[in-house]
Subunit: 364 residues, 2 copies
């Protein structure tokens, strides 16, 4: 698949333009754009420009309601349940995480569980919001069911990522990972490349490991059975029940505590219902927050400095690759699939934005 | 390896006897025995009777101090840091989790981070303490470094289990899993059986996958390099960085927040320093706790009822196997390796307990 480079500023300006044309305020468009851009800057391609089409379709179909405002339906000094009323996931996520941060600044810890939202982009964005303010941040989301529980053959769980970020120097601990072995995006990349997937990624309709990405994706779309394996594969021998367990933890903090829909009931027949979970912890409640930050920084450095396996030249700590990716993207631009750029052209045409103003003749 | 069955009551009475002979009070011995017994009842053989020898050696060497009392060194209404002063891990764990539970009952949530402890048994015991009282429970611990970070060849992390339990019917969600692909105990079982281990479990001294359990274990003991892989194996393709990330989360809640020792610095040269993390959350802070319990119970049942993979006849939810194991052990006794029973005989001789009073001629 052909790729082109687009500049970060052009991508930013384009997003700001189209979201305001959809009816979002400038401030709302700023948040949505920030979440999308961070994914592209961090090199998480599947969640940046490539997701524009998903939001385009969601808004066009009415699954995402542009003018919905998130509402606190229950709260205590350390918690809240938020109803997103089917609004834009990024706005609901940003609102909910800010609520967790505000409460944590006063009470030391807070958990916010949020229902009736939509796809909110990378979970890590929200964890980072807390870490940027010196707090420990946590975020998770459920999604449509595409992951199969251990010994099952029907997708019952989402890829249910969990993100945790903790302040450290020279860069924070930033862990953002699907609880499945890989995300759907990886399957799509292998399908495009017509390469077989590893036999520990996907299951066919009968629940057998399957190395053909197209088969797994087609079955997922048709709800014909099979899907993606949890982290740890499909056998207890390789820890499948552990990935399945982490997916459950995501589900509990998102859909269960918020009285929302579990993954197996979300995004069916045009209804959304995605749920998220957020938490913030002020390290000061353990005394000496500077020492905590210094201790974590030391440990991260010890890991990076520890002996490398034969054939490897570095050990990464979580979030380090993202720091390098940002520097690269800001200098060299964002790598975008031509198909994604075509989707962006459609989005421009739909909203009335001037595609060529931002991207010139990249499509010609 | 030959096994024998011992009755739960005999095991209970034996433990109560030897721990009191070590100098623990009856109440302290009750707690230690309960933690050990729960592992055996749950079928987590590696953490029950088999661990008696570890505590025996720890007490004899002075790494575990019988008369140490845990101390709160910092606290807020939602948090505490506990110094275990090198006491028995189970007592420090029980004390710390009770503190989290008490605080959560008042404040809604609490996190306790604990340093200078010792091996505390199964992480799940402490999560269960909270769930038994209607709260969401969380517990984690670091351990000596036997797990290798992605792309490394030196063990820098413990098996760092994380346990989470949430009330539900007919039985709770109870997830207790090492963040490594398997625990050291699995390697020991394969070594005894002289069977090759799967190539996604262990690394040799150079950081290459190794299928010989004895090689990996010998290298671990000699600190010669290599060790156990994180959940997800040793490659990013299979999610190694995710297991490594979860091990880090364990480390942050145990050693970092408590200002304690990270796994790579614990249990070296006769010093201990194991750290734990605990949390409790009252579901009432999200409103309608009964509804939360009912919703989780429904979702767990939907998972159990969902279609099974070819060749599988059931899908388990986390904690279900443990419920069945308890019924089996109470009826049929606990399966104990003869080598473990010999260790228990040594323990009896060391403390002056009457081995044959509890176990008759099982060793003859």
């Amino acid at each position: 698949m052909a790729h082109v480079k687009i500049q970060v500023q052009a991508m930013n300006d384009f997003c700001m333009d189209v979201y305001q044309r959809f009816g979002f305020t400038e401030e709302e468009s700023r948040i949505i754009t920030d979440v999308l851009l961070l994914a592209d800057l961090y090199g998480i391609e599947s969640h940046g420009a490539q997701r524009l089409v998903r939001y385009h379709k969601g808004i066009a179909s009415g699954m995402i309601k542009v003018h919905a405002k998130p509402e606190i339906v229950y709260e205590t000094p350390v918690s809240a349940v938020v109803d997103g009323h089917d609004g834009m996931g990024q706005l609901i996520g940003h609102y909910s995480m800010n609520l967790a941060i505000e409460k944590a600044k006063k009470s030391g810890i807070a958990i916010v569980s949020t229902r009736n939202s939509n796809h909110y982009g990378i979970a890590g964005y929200y964890a980072k919001m807390a870490a940027d303010q010196g707090l420990i941040g946590f975020s998770t989301t459920n999604s449509e069911a595409i992951v199969v529980p251990t010994f099952g053959k029907k997708a019952m769980l989402g890829t249910n990522p969990i993100a945790i970020s903790v302040p450290a120097d020279p860069y924070p601990f930033f862990f953002d990972a699907a609880t499945s072995v890989v995300t759907r995006g990886k399957f799509e990349m292998y399908r495009k490349a017509e390469k077989p997937i590893p036999d520990c990624w996907g299951l066919d309709a009968k629940g057998h490991p399957c190395t053909d990405a197209a088969t797994v994706l087609t079955n997922i779309d048709k709800k014909a059975g099979g899907g993606i394996m949890p982290l740890g594969g499909s056998q207890e021998l390789t820890g499948s029940h552990k990935g399945y367990g982490w997916a459950m933890v995501s589900e509990i903090f998102s859909s269960i505590l918020s009285h929302g829909l579990t993954s197996n009931h979300t995004i069916i027949d045009g209804k959304g219902g995605t749920c998220h979970g957020f938490a913030a912890i002020d390290p000061a409640i353990f005394g000496q927050p500077e020492q905590i930050r210094a201790d974590l920084s030391t440990f991260l450095q010890e890991l990076r400095d520890s002996p490398k396996a034969d054939g490897q030249d570095r050990i990464y700590t979580h979030g380090e690759k993202e720091i390098f990716a940002v520097a690269d993207r800001r200098k060299n631009g964002i790598d975008v699939d031509v198909k994604t750029l075509e989707e962006m052209k459609n989005l421009a045409d739909y909203t009335g934005a001037d595609f060529e103003h931002y991207f010139g003749d990249l499509l010609k």
